[in-house]
Subunit: 210 residues, 2 copies
């Protein structure tokens, strides 16, 4: 079986990167991580990648806080394209990507977010959900668009909030679900056909009639 | 066992009223419906109530579209209090209640909403969720405050959205969960102690130390 090369962008510890690397150890997993990019030079994610024998590059983000400079974005696209990357997974990547980057991989830049979107977009989603008093939270994989956590939803997993919960225990149980949901989402995108119905994302067997 | 008298407010078919009436047929259910009020004279909910031997009153809402007149609200409070009502459950009641009404039953006016709040408040929540493309929706019981579907959350139930779903099939499966969640919420409010942690609603055995 040919495994599709994918890229991962991470700014921090990259626990979702680890989950993807672990999933890709299975011989029938349809993806292999071909490149990890980070805007943070000492991000543990880069170490994890190198330890797994995966190319890992620090890409200096430039002067802006929330975005990557156009020059660096262009370099990121080039490095990903050079390796034939078919899917780009954000794993705790803390900057907003421009349409120039997103258009280089149409509907193939994805993210995972620790809430049941559209509830609680943005930072500290687990803490937002906890403080709001929801009884069910979870995580969401979605296609990245120009907004913050606003793109079409791919998959979601629910996590019940317990009475004796803290924000930290909730975040930990959501993270455990993330580590299952993200590899599953990548599998679906590489082995099935994504069909849009408005902003609904549906999956069909490849080559099936629409 | 003494059963607590509760009131139900409904504007339409009142399928959640039927679920509550059915639950209260069990001899150990902690509530009995003492009064059903409707702002719609020919609401089927009134017929359901009368068929079950429950007092049922039409209360003319007055000239405003989204609210009930102060005179009618005062009468509603009086009718509910006369019957010793300890909990008021909205079941498809389509008007916003004023603080005057809510303050007559502090933290004891509750509602059920067909989404996982805070996602998709307001009308046609099931259709909103379907069009947005969420993979998990559900229903929420909450304390009614002066906003629209904005009060503290009591309980939630998740309903997965299937690929082959329509907005109608999703609404039907959410409704089936509503019919379980609402009686369960009423039981909790009448048999346990509600404790607030910020806007989190927690339930404790009655008389337990906080």
């Amino acid at each position: 079986m040919t495994r599709a090369p994918i890229g991962v962008l991470a700014s921090g510890r990259g626990s979702n990167l680890l989950a993807i690397l672990e999933a890709s150890n299975a011989p029938d997993y349809p993806a292999r991580v071909a490149l990890v990019l980070s805007d943070v030079e000492d991000a543990p994610a880069l170490d994890h990648a190198r330890a797994a024998g995966v190319d890992a590059l620090y890409v200096p983000p430039g002067p802006r806080r929330a975005r990557v400079s156009p020059e660096t974005e262009a370099r990121m696209v080039e490095e990903l394209r050079t390796r034939g990357v078919r899917l780009v997974a954000l794993a705790g990547f803390m900057r907003i990507l421009s349409p120039r980057f997103l258009d280089a991989f149409p509907n193939r830049v994805i993210n995972i977010h620790p809430s049941l979107l559209p509830s609680f977009p943005g930072l500290e989603a687990q803490r937002q959900a906890f403080a709001h008093g929801v009884r069910i939270s979870g995580c969401t994989t979605h296609i990245v668009d120009a907004g913050v956590d606003s793109g079409p939803i791919l998959f979601q997993a629910a996590v019940p909030v317990r009475d004796e919960e803290t924000a930290e225990s909730l975040a930990a149980r959501i993270l455990a679900e993330e580590h299952k949901l993200y590899p599953r989402t990548i599998t679906a995108l590489l082995t099935q056909e994504l069909v849009f119905d408005g902003r609904r994302c549906l999956f069909r067997p490849k080559g099936a009639p629409r």
